[in-house]
């Protein structure tokens, strides 16, 4: 039948192209330069679009997106100054002004809730999903946008899905095969090869452009690698440049298949859901892992949840109690080309991956940092904060003391009580005045 013949021919040409131009070169870590050309064209187009939008904005006095500037200028005076009193002065009815102002400021713009949704862009990047305040400017811009939609959904998406399919299948098959071998140097070398190859293919499937800085500080065996968390893609980005032992919960479905296959080839640390609750068990197993200097470095995300890559939130102290050397890594995505943040309350894994594959590209910087160890007289919390500051400074992110768990949970009452205690200390003072 002609139809079937034609379909068959198209499919085989398609597969040959994909194999020849993308799969094989990336398997060998070689680049044919196609993606570089794509990125250059993309950058030029986005620059042109930005200029057009700005010109259009001036002409029609359309509202400028001031997301980067904020809605209000916060009054950062601390409690003592805001209440305009010395220690131990009496309660005044006007004290309510300070607290109500602080409360209203938090309602209009607060530091925490904005971290759990995608960053707003300063200038539109021709994706519908990031279009918040930008209005119709010109027919040319709309045409470019339509062209972009066609290119992304009809050309790039099938290509990327094919690549991802190949990448994941190769990973599962490869690690299962390698897992059959007895433990030896050869097995480790092969398992590394399989991991790296499949990760490179998967990164191509997202049109990922990654810059690694300071490769001399790449995490060594027997250490713990710690990074800020934005999405599951972080794992992919780090494992393209080195092999790590993952830590995490056992999942069902496709993730579970991948996890079970990977652990055959090299020792990852997967926990059952029930085991995760037992902190001592978790610490014990991780300690055993790093004690063996031949095992790969552990990869941990101490924030515990995905944050939108504009800030670093509280690092949970559990990872810092294990001991051993910490290798901090800072990951910063460029939101202009594609938003990598996984808002798990809004999108499930499949829609998230689809959004990833219909963005322009994933561009990010990875900075390896010099190793850190816990100092004398420092407890786990202080150490965690020190590492967090270092990562925030390197990646150009804001540092917040708030817990990422606030995405789903309420603030603990102890924090409210602390504020109340501070206020009452001011009124009562040391107990020596005003009696």
């Amino acid at each position: 039948m002609e139809g079937a013949d034609l379909a068959g021919k198209i499919l085989s040409t398609w597969l040959t192209l994909v194999l020849g131009l993308i799969l094989l070169p990336s398997a060998f870590g070689v680049s044919l330069g196609i993606s570089e050309i794509y990125m250059k064209i993309l950058v030029k187009t986005l620059e042109w679009a930005t200029l057009r939008i700005e010109k259009g904005a001036e002409k029609e006095s359309v509202l400028k997106n001031s997301a980067s500037v904020g809605i209000i200028q916060r009054d950062e005076s601390p409690m003592e100054k805001g209440l305009s009193g010395l220690r131990g002065r009496d309660f005044e009815l006007s004290d309510v002004f300070y607290f109500s102002k602080k409360g209203l400021e938090a309602i209009v713009e607060d530091e925490v809730t904005q971290r759990f949704s995608s960053e707003e862009l300063v200038s539109w990047n021709l994706l519908t999903r990031t279009n918040i305040n930008f209005q119709y400017i010109s027919p040319r811009l709309t045409m470019v946008w339509v062209l972009g939609v066609i290119v992304r959904y009809c050309v790039l998406l099938p290509l990327r899905v094919t690549l991802a399919f190949f990448g994941i299948s190769l990973l599962v098959i490869g690690t299962t095969l390698v897992g059959q071998l007895p433990d030896s140097r050869l097995k480790n070398w092969l398992s590394e090869l399989v991991h790296l190859t499949c990760c490179r293919i998967c990164v191509r499937s997202l049109s990922g452009t990654i810059h690694y800085h300071n490769k001399q500080y790449r995490p060594q065996k027997g250490g713990i690698c710690v990074a800020n968390h934005t999405s599951p893609i972080d794992v992919l980005i780090l494992t393209t440049d080195g092999c790590y032992a993952m830590v995490g919960q056992v999942h069902g479905g496709l993730m579970g298949v991948i996890q079970r296959a990977m652990v055959k080839a090299c020792p990852h640390v997967w926990f059952e859901r029930s085991e995760m609750k037992d902190r001592h068990l978790v610490t014990k197993r991780l300690k055993e892992h790093i004690a063996d200097k031949k095992k790969l470095p552990i990869l941990i995300f101490p924030e515990g949840t995905c944050i939108n890559n504009t800030s670093v939130m509280m690092f949970k102290k559990g990872s810092f109690e294990i001991g051993g050397t910490i290798h901090p890594v800072a990951i910063k995505y460029n939101p202009q080309f594609g938003d990598a943040f996984w808002n798990s309350s809004k999108y499930n894994m499949v829609s998230y991956l689809l959004r990833m594959m219909t963005s322009w590209a994933i561009v990010c910087d990875v900075w390896y940092m010099p190793p850190m160890t816990k100092e004398e007289g420092e407890d786990a919390v202080q150490f965690a904060n020190r590492v967090k500051s270092a990562i925030a400074v390197q990646g150009g992110l804001t540092e917040l003391p708030w817990d990422g768990g606030l995405k789903r949970a309420k603030v603990k009452d102890t924090f409210k009580e602390e504020q109340q205690k501070n206020y009452s200390k001011m009124i009562v003072g040391n107990g020596s005045l005003n009696l």
Binding site: F97, S100, V108, D110
Partner: protein
């Protein structure tokens, strides 16, 4: 996905809010984005739980009372108009407004309305149990304008 902010807020509504509260066009749009981002139920109104989700408000000793100030008597939902009306109390008094005509309705951010807002934070059962003279005497000495104003940008 897409431009929720500009499509759901109609121009007439925006004009009415502008007249009532005195916020500028762009300020109202920004605050509408904020309102929709707090509205997890996506039904155009905020409930008390939506406010309590803000950590910095939850640890404020007056948090609950401030949240109550948004909700009209006996209601559990506040719409955007009500939200803006309460926020308007904290708009600074601009120079060109100080010499407005005395016959017009008092703007929401006038000194006495700011004081009224603070008063309501104390008067939980809304029955004027605090002696008003006392309160006004104390507050007379305080710089109400600076303390009860938030710097809204542009």
């Amino acid at each position: 996905m897409g431009s929720r902010a500009s499509t759901l807020l109609r121009d007439e509504e925006l004009e009415e809010i502008k007249k009532e509260t005195g916020f500028s066009h762009s300020q109202i749009t920004c605050l509408y984005s904020r309102f929709t981002s707090l509205d997890k139920g996506e039904n155009g109104t905020l409930s008390r739980e939506d406010f309590q989700r803000i950590p910095e408000l939850a640890i404020n000793p007056l948090g609950d009372r401030i949240i109550n100030a948004f909700f009209p008597e006996g209601e559990d939902q506040v719409n955007f108009r009500g939200f803006m009306r309460t926020l308007a109390h904290f708009r600074p008094i601009e120079d060109n407004e100080k010499s407005k005509d005395v016959n017009g309705p008092e703007p929401l951010n006038s000194r006495s309305n700011k004081l009224h807002f603070a008063f309501r934070l104390y008067d939980l059962d809304k029955d004027d149990k605090i002696s008003r003279d006392e309160l006004l005497q104390v507050l007379e000495k305080v710089d109400v304008e600076q303390k009860m104003s938030i710097q809204f940008l542009h």
